[in-house]
Structure formats: C-alpha cells, structure tokens
Subunit: 358 residues, 3 copies
C-alpha cells in the first residue's frame, strides 16, 4: 500500500481500493480465515469525543482479527488531554500500539497526529471535516449492491448543507462517470457549490429536487440523512416540511424493485420503522460492511507497515507562524504545528483543515 | 437449551437449570478445562446504567472462556442512546457480537431488546424489574451449600418491600417445597402480598418477624439485604430500629453452626465487619459463584445458538397503541414496540414490564 | 521474589531489583519471547481517579504478555465506590483477577487494599504519597543510560516542594553513593528537608541552585518537572521567573554531550518543543521503558504468586481507634481498618500514609 495513514478517502489510489474491497468481501464470506491475522498486535482507539458506534466497530474489527485493544472513549475522564500536546500523546501511545484510530472534534487533528505517530494512523472523524472509513463503507456498499459506482441514478436526501457524510461521498464519487445525482433538500439546506462541482465532474448530471416524490421512481441508490429539527426556521415550517423528507412505505411504492437505500446511521425519525423490513433497506448491511472494511484496513496497514518509526526526527519544521483563519483548525489549537500550505489548481489551502488560505 | 435469551429466571426449565448448575460447578473445580471454550467469540456488554460489579463479572466470565469483550458502561459518554432507538442499537451491536448482555434502567428493556437481537441476549437488570443472573447465583449457592432448595428454614431480612433481589428469589423458590420462610422487616417494609403468595405455594409456611433475634436460631439460610436510611420515617426511628436488622457476632451466637449467610452485595453497614470472617458468611463465595454461573450461561448460549438471526423479519407487528400504564415500562419509551399482552390464570399483564394491564 | 505486593519502591530488595531490570531489558530486546507468558491470566485495573497514561501502559503490558484486562477508569460512572468498603471491592475483584493494579486519590489506599487482596497488588499511585512504578522507570532509565546510579551529577529541576516523583526518586537514590545532586528551584519551592537528608546519606553532596544555567554544564542527568503557574506568588513573578526553569536549546548549548534529560510526563511547557528532537532528550524512551518494567513486574508477581489467598482470615485486628492526624489518610476514610503504627529509628509513623504519629 502506498499510504501509511488513512486521513482522507482520497489517500487510497484506485487500484489499492480495489484490493481493500476484495479483501473486505472475502472477510465477510470467510471470517474464520482471518481470526488470527493480527494475533499479538494492539490497536489504540483514541476517542477525544465519544462515538460509541464507531469505537465498538473498530474494537470488534481488531478482536475478530485476533488482536487486542487499548484506548479511551471519554474526553472528560481522560487525563491524556489535560495540558499535554497532541504530539506527546501520540508519540507515547504509538510506542505502545501497533496501529491507532483517532476521533477528535478539531479539524485536521488526524493529519496533525499522523506527523508524530510511530505506527499507522486511521482517522475516525476530525470534527466536521473527514470520516474516511464511513466513506469507504458507503462506496463499498454501493459497489457490492450495484456492481460498480458508475452509470447510476443516485439520490442524496436530507440536510445536504451540513452533512459531512454526503460531502465526503460526493468527493469519493467525483471520479466516477455516467451518473445522475438527485439532490433532495430544502432550498436553505442544499448542497454547497463546491460539492455540486465535484459531483458534476466527468460529465455527470446533477439535478436539485425539493421533494423525495419527484425523483424516487428513477433512483438506483437513495442515500438518506437526517434534517435536524433546529435547521428549520420555525416549528410550523418544520411540521409542514419534515414529512417531505421522511422515507416511508408509501413513498417507496413508486420506487424501483432494486433500489438500494443507504443511511450512515444512527437514524432518528427520517426513515419510518416499517421500512427497516423492506428488502431494499440496506443500511444495516452497510453497518455490517463497516466492520469488514475496518478489518481489511487494519490488516492491510499492520502488514504493510509492521515497523515503528523512530521517535525523533519529525518531518516538518516549526515556524510559529499562524496562518489559517479557521478557528476550529488544529493548527490554531496545537501551537507547535508546522505551517503547511497545499496547492491544487488555483487553490491554496491549509494542509490540516483544507480550508482556503489567503 | 430451550431458551435463546435469558430475560427472567423462569425462562430456564428445571432440567436445563440442573445442567447449568452442573456445568458451573465443574467450571469452579476445573477452570482450565474451559479456557478456550469461547475462543474467537465476542461478548457485547451494553450497560445503559453503570454497574461496575456486574459488568466486571461478565467481562471476566467471557475472558476466562478465552473470548473477548466490547461494550460501553457510561450512559453519558455513550452516543449510542442519543436519539437512536434501542431496536437499531441492538440490531447493529448484535451484528458485531456473538452474545450480548444488557443492563437498562427501563423495565422490560431486555425483553424488548431480545425481539431485535440477532444473537442470544442476557438480561443483567432492567430497572426494578428482573436481574436473573443474580437469582441464578442465589439459587445455585443455596443448592451448593445445602444440597437442595427444599426442606429448609430460610430467612429474608431487610427492605422486603423494595428489594428486587428478594422478589426474584421468592419467585424462583416458589416451586420448591417443605420450606419455612421467615420474613424479617419493619411493618412498613414488609414483603408485598404477591411475593408472599409465591412463597406459600406448595404448602410452604411463611412467618413474618419484626426482629432478627426472633428466628435466627432456627434458620438454615439467612438472606440479608439493606434497609436504606431514607426508608425510615425519621432519624430517630432509624436509630432505634436499624440495629434490629444489622447482623453482628452477638446475634450469630444463637444461630446454627451450619447457617448459610447470603447477601447480593454490595453491602454497606447491614452486616458488621467481623461477620465477614465467620465461616457461616458465604456472600463472598456467592459473588465468586456468580462468575462461574455467568461463564456457564455464556458458554451454553453461544454453543446452542451459534448462528446470527437475519436482520429482517421481526416477530411482532407494530400497532402504535399505548396500553401499559407503568410510566417506566419500555413500551412507553420505545414507541415502535408492538403491543404484547400476556395472560396467566385470571391475570392480564404487559409482556414487557409484567405489570397488570387494565 | 520476597514481595507479593508492590506498594513502595523500597519493597524491592536490591538483588530482586537487579533481576527485574534484567528481565525488563530482555523484554525490550526480545518482546516476542514473552507474548504468551501470561496467557489465560487476567489483570484488574482499578482506577479510582483517572490516569489514562498509566492505565493504558498497564493494559498494554498485560496484553503484550498474552493476558487480558478488566477494570474501571472513571470514579463517577463507577458504582464500585458507592458506599461499599474498599475491603469488599478488593475481596471481590481479586476473586476475578490474577493480579491487580490500583490508583486511588487517598494516601495509603494501596497498602490498605493489599491487606484484603487475594492476588498480588501493584500501587499505581495513592494520592500524593507513592507511585512506585514511576520510580522504577526513573531508576531503570538512569541505569540503562549511565550503567549505574552511582558517581553521577544529577540535577532535579522544577517544583521540588510538591513533586511526588522527585521525592520518591530521592528515596530510591538514597542508598547510592558518589553522587552530587543539584536541586534547581525557587526558594519557595525547594526540596523538603527530609528528602535532602535522604539524598545526602552515604556522603553524597547536595547543592541548591536558583537557575538551570548555574549547573547545566556539569550534569550527567537532568530530571525535569513542571512548576505550575499557580505556585508563583503573582503573575509578574511568574513571568520573570518561569523562563529560568524552562529547558530550551539555548540552555542545552552548555550541557554535556552525553547528558540524559528525563521527565515523568506529561509535560506542558517546561521543555521547549525543539528539545524533543535533541538526542539527549530521553523522556520518550523513559515512557517506553515504563511499559517493559510493568511487563516485568506483572510477569514476576503472577509467576511467583499464582495462588489466590483465602477470602477469610485477615492479618490484622480492627480496634476502632482513630490515631492518624492526616485527613487524607485512608485510615480516616475506611473506618474498619486496623491501627498500624510503624517505627524507624526514633520515628513513629502511620502504617498507611507514613506520616508521623503524635
């Protein structure tokens, strides 16, 4: 594998993504083959904000590979963060473990940690920024259910403005072609322009909708997300609008027989209870796939990078300069971090949180 | 085994209970024989309210069988419960694990969860309702120490009105015969009528006492529980009464040489420190027995039910009707739950919390 | 080994300390040799106050030996401490585990617990009193880097009045000889007299300094600790003084090439970021050594004391007398504890917290 750390889904080259999918699919079919694959290895789960679902899934992944797990899950009862730099914590924990998973409420924290981590590091969410193993799960499930991620009618429904998962999914889908995307949301919560641009690359079509009913009959994939009550201007607007974005049996009557309904979970009331038993509902399979993908990722990284990096000799120089205007960027929280600016086409952006600089 | 989930002690038919006791006794004698019995299996411990003792004991049970453990213990730092239904949580966690243990402050929660759990589920306490592995421990310890649960003089002392353990124990003892029960409590905290009826079934005698001293000389078994200070009407009543229900060396002078003193633990001050070293004090052995019974239960369930149930196809239909008047019944908290009413003799009761309906 | 429990570093006789160091060094070199050494054994980590670093390190130690871990880390979400005596908790947990580690905010708690623990108990910090595995780590690292702990110029810098680690280190260094100690602190935060006396035993020299610059050129070992901002009388005093005790590249220009810089970690700003990459900075190696020493300790204790003690028959008698004036002494918190007074030369001290009695 060309990547030692998984910070963003785009870290995985296409060919290597194929290999991970093949491995995950085999793990799903033949779990017993892998039950000692990581024997003697230790995974550290560093959860600076609680996320029980994600943490349980990573823990299970390592245990099913025969390895073991250390870590913390509660920012309050944890003394790790009290005054100590992220750098020191990561240096020490990566001295104990063979692979690390980190969730952190600060944007760019996973990339920052990877600069000092002696073992492979997996990003399990850095604020509203990235959550690549969720994106892997989404892409893998579409691929498993539909054969590929090309030539499809894909709906995304809910709060498209604030939803981290749909933005990441848009970025991951961007290189695919022959797709039509149906973006179903209120005017106020519509997909940001940059994400629309990602989807429409490679001559894909993008169509905005205001109701699920307008497009549900032509969708091959429907990716549901929640609209939080507080996103609506008023309680009366909520009551009049919310039903439009709730998926129920009635709306599904017009849908294709082989529609694939996805949801990153947890869901609250955006999908009616009875839909769970519809054969087209695949979100629980999606949650199961998450386990196998995380197993595949952990095994791949520990096999490819078995040696701990030396504790000295960081790659970048500290300059002391503050340059990123994003207040929740890790570069403004961990003050020793080197200045890193990346360029892409005409864009200059922060190497941690990826927001535009200048 | 005829039961896939252990929700109530009465789920276990007598013959199968014999088998579990035999297995637990062998595990206590020959622990090494079982050290790989659950190798590769994962136990999920889902503690919606903290109970360190119970959780440590279940974790140890699985680890001593060679398996491993995932789970959460803190309702506050857990994102699992945030808005997500119990049904969704259970469906997903039971996709990861091979067997699950749940503690929940809501009555009937374990039975509700079992409707959606893909693997065997063990109830580790659902509010003030049931805690069957405690009852198993109590029954097993009496059996180990006395040969059987018949033909004995059994005292139960303390807060018999509010004590969940003594109610469950009464239900479990109900089919046994030849016993005399001494119920030792204040008038205000005496055993509820339904539990007295359970004990007096099969021609057993029930005698109410107001002091330990009245009956301690004829007891074969004494089951102690705590009376919380706030149960007394006033501080002066507490001071005058409390000593009557505290077991100390002096009261034990009149007791039989082979009395068996039990307590569900933790205890506070209802048993004097010096009693711990009395050979008749068996409550620490009781706590040890809990470990072996949980090992026996986990092994039995995972061996008998190795296959995960499909994620679709719930057994019951959702009606939307609210029918149970118990405000802490799970059916009033998880609104998608199907209406379940059970009948027994002339009684109609809620299938979740078992309180009378109408 | 002559000690079943590790409460204080002085519990380890010199010859046995040599054996532990040899074992830890071999574990560092050949970790694979030990990967099943504790297979089937269970470590209980009982953290009555959070200390993520220490807990992760003990957990990793047991997992790297092939054993498994139970425990709790959060005093608030733990029901263990609710009203139950430390004695009952320890009796029961030590029925589940093969070895236990305890951290507790109360002084003398580890020794008190060891009176009732059925398996070997390791003290991982009892309030401001003792933290012997930290001292082991410090002593082992000096020995590894310098060949021995004799004939050295050793600086200790920072808050020497309140620092538990420097006091314990002073006690551990006391039997060594040919050393000169440089105690670098403000007048207000200087080392207490009793610790100076320990250091100056065996004709060692003790020199007090007010700045790092005065002595940094002659040091072989520099043990850094933090001065908390609130220890200074005023903000202006803090600003004028703090820099004097911060280690940076500039101060290191005058230091020996083979200086060994230690720190118990976590550090905040008492060492500048750039020092981390200096080859003389050994505090991350020190943190790594902690892992191997804890592995060596766990293996040694479980091998030497494989049998669980009986649950009855405590060594000491309860008298009910309160005799220790230290309000944070465990004897004033756990009221059943026997009175224990120890004598040493002319000193009479409490057997739990070791403060002078009358």
């Amino acid at each position: 594998m060309s990547f030692r750390n998984l910070i963003d889904f785009s870290d995985i080259p296409e060919k290597e993504w194929d290999e991970i999918c093949t491995l995950a699919a085999d793990m799903k079919k033949n779990p017993n083959r892998y039950e000692s694959a990581c024997a003697g290895k230790v995974l550290a789960t560093l959860f600076y904000e609680p996320s029980t679902r994600t943490q349980l899934s990573f823990q299970t992944a390592m245990l099913r590979l025969g390895g073991s797990v250390i870590g913390f899950s509660d920012p309050n009862s944890s003394s790790v963060s009290k005054g100590e730099t992220l750098r020191d914590t990561i240096k020490i924990v990566s001295t104990y473990a063979d692979v690390a998973v980190m969730r952190n409420p600060v944007e760019g924290a996973a990339f920052a940690a990877s600069l000092y981590c002696r073992v492979p590091l997996i990003n399990a969410g850095d604020g509203g920024h990235l959550h690549p193993t969720q994106t892997m799960t989404d892409m893998f499930t579409i691929r498993q259910e539909k054969g590929s991620c090309d030539g499809l009618s894909i709906g995304m429904c809910g709060d498209l403005l604030n939803g981290r998962t749909v933005h990441s999914l848009s970025k991951a889908l961007s290189p695919h072609c022959g797709n039509t995307y149906y973006l179903i949301s209120t005017e106020k919560l519509k997909m940001p322009e940059y994400a629309v641009n990602l989807l429409s690359a490679n001559s894909n079509k993008v169509i905005e909708c205001r109701t699920l009913d307008e497009c549900i009959d032509i969708l091959d994939v429907l990716y549901m997300t929640r609209i939080q009550r507080e996103r609506f201007t008023s309680e009366s607007e909520y009551r009049s609008q919310a039903g439009i974005y709730i998926l129920d049996s009635k709306k599904l009557e017009n849908a294709k027989k082989n529609l694939v309904i996805l949801h990153p979970l947890p869901k609250v009331d955006e999908i009616s209870y009875e839909v769970d038993d519809d054969p087209r509902a695949k979100y629980f399979e999606q949650a199961e796939n998450a386990l196998y993908l995380r197993m595949a990722l952990i095994l791949t990284l520990t096999e490819n990078y078995p040696d701990r990096l030396p504790i000295k000799g960081d790659k970048y120089d500290f300059t002391g300069e503050r340059y990123c205007k994003n207040p929740v960027c890790v570069s403004n929280h961990e003050k020793y971090l080197p200045k890193i600016i990346k360029e892409n086409n005409e864009r200059k952006f922060c190497g941690y949180c990826e927001r535009d600089v200048n």
